[in-house]
Symmetry: C2
Subunit: 318 residues, 2 copies
């Protein structure tokens, strides 16, 4: 059968993903190298990772010193920056140093700058965003964002120890309104009061989100839902350069895939988490978003195939 050139195949309209969170200038020290004031921030990593799969709308704030080249880089991925506020003052800065195994890092400096007084204001056109990722920011701001979107189909959030201890009541209100929460193992223990991770996930699911994803760095991630547990290993790499942003790229890749596929069932989330793992594995191969700059679909497809091979085994029959 010959394809009919006059026949137009209806492409499903991809849903937009709204990402809200920090953009930063990061200073990173590893055991062997150092980078000063490079592009970073949770929303930046998440947006870039998601942009390979879905149209992204970014809400955040930068200062007058934020290089135009960084904005241009984000625009080159068709990330909508109508929601990016340029406020008077300096951009948020973070500095940290990694231990030799990359599993521990020390924060050397945090300067909130324009981020300190940030109040997210969504452009009117963003109100219809079907998928929303609330990266790690003050839960009060996460709630303000949710007040500005109209009936989103799927909302996920991240958080951190600082908000779990300092703004627990507000965080609990966020959790009541999200479909999925992504957090690391220590945060899951702190939030739930349980040391055992499956038990912690049960407690957190009881707080609202039907999907709980516990991130464990190079030990991978666990996803808990009514469908049971899914374990996604981290993709093993011979050389890790800089793990900054890995968790945010993981979340962004996952949410971008969900927006693209439209399948937020437990099975759909499993596949999305594999995509997230793949994006995180690219993120750590260079400083800042540098590996993402040259990343393309064939490379992503090849690593998705390698990921499937990583966990492949013949079933146990006896």
């Amino acid at each position: 059968m010959t394809p009919d050139p006059n026949r137009t195949v209806a492409q499903p309209k991809r849903s937009s993903l709204l990402v809200v969170g920090s953009l930063a200038l990061d200073t990173i020290e590893t055991q062997t190298s150092r980078r000063d004031e490079v592009l970073g921030g949770a929303a930046c990593y998440a947006s870039f990772a998601a942009s390979f799969f879905a149209p992204v709308r970014l809400v955040g704030v930068v200062g007058g010193d934020f290089p135009r080249a960084h904005e241009d880089l984000l625009r080159s991925r068709n990330i909508d920056l109508a929601g990016l506020e340029r406020a008077p003052g300096r951009t948020f800065r973070w500095a940290g140093r990694y231990a030799a195994d990359f599993n521990n890092r020390t924060t050397l400096d945090t300067q909130l700058n324009v981020f300190e007084t940030f109040r997210p204001k969504l452009p009117a056109a963003y109100a219809d965003s079907a998928f929303v990722f609330l990266a790690n920011i003050d839960p009060v701001l996460q709630l303000e964002v949710l007040g500005q979107v109209h009936r989103p189909r799927f909302v996920a959030c991240d958080t951190m120890n600082f908000w779990i201890s300092g703004k627990r009541a507000e965080l609990v209100r966020v959790l009541e309104r999200v479909n999925m929460v992504l957090l690391n193992d220590e945060e899951a223990r702190q939030l739930s009061g349980k040391d055992n991770l499956p038990a912690a996930a049960s407690v957190i699911r009881g707080m609202g989100p039907s999907a709980v994803v516990i991130k464990r760095g190079d030990a991978g991630a666990l996803f808990f839902s009514q469908d049971g547990v899914f374990a996604a290993p981290a993709f093993p790499l011979e050389a890790v350069v800089d793990p900054t942003g890995a968790g945010d790229s993981f979340a962004g890749g996952c949410m971008g895939w969900l927006a693209r596929s439209g399948d937020s069932s437990a099975a759909g989330i499993r596949t999305a988490l594999v995509v997230g793992s793949v994006l995180a594995s690219f993120c750590v191969q260079d400083f800042s978003l540098d590996r993402f700059r040259s990343l393309d679909e064939p490379a992503i497809r090849a690593r998705c195939a390698a990921f499937a091979d990583l966990v492949r085994f013949q079933s146990v029959q006896f």
Copy 2:
């Protein structure tokens, strides 16, 4: 088609697995409970886990105080104890305390007792053992065992930080003669001098074993071979009672499966490691070998199926 009742199906003769290592009386403290002088030791856990799949021959030493009931328990699994020496003196004792998350433990007491002067002597009938697991003992003794078996098909060993630093030359000679080494992440880093685990595995593979398995506790295991990398998560459990012996049960389950299947290809080892993960997951559900006492094939099969579900995902197509 009706099965012909007169047709006999030839069952492949299962290869025997030789296990050499410690038998111990352990005193275990967790955050909520304590057990005094219960059955333990690496060879004991490994033999018991393997016994669900293959005939096991055990070589080790106990003192005059080792309860007959423990021997009877091992015999009840058809573990051959012809190689178990009963020496004058007291059985090896170990005592430890676990942190709340079970990922860290403190050794409170070690009494080598009869283990201090142990020299493994294999019964003549053990010389034809096709599969050999050298649990964590002095590499000098591991070499003595290898001198007493005749052309084994597949040999695996474990080791620990104490031998890596104290008897490195002897350990290197063991590694030159084994097909597979199982060790934890810190031991892999110490042995290889590499912080990155895939890099560490490459170095260790260069020392001899074509298969390197890095155990990471509740973060699962990584298997490196010429076939690439395989990641096996740990089976998540809502309640862990006592992780003592999990790594040895993992190794024993894996080696028992290899002896049963006879398939020591990289693909065969992948399946064997899943079986090992399943056996380890049972091990930690009670103190000592208590969960193993009531374990049966249907329960093992059910958890193997649950394990397959744990890592199942639809392939990423775009």
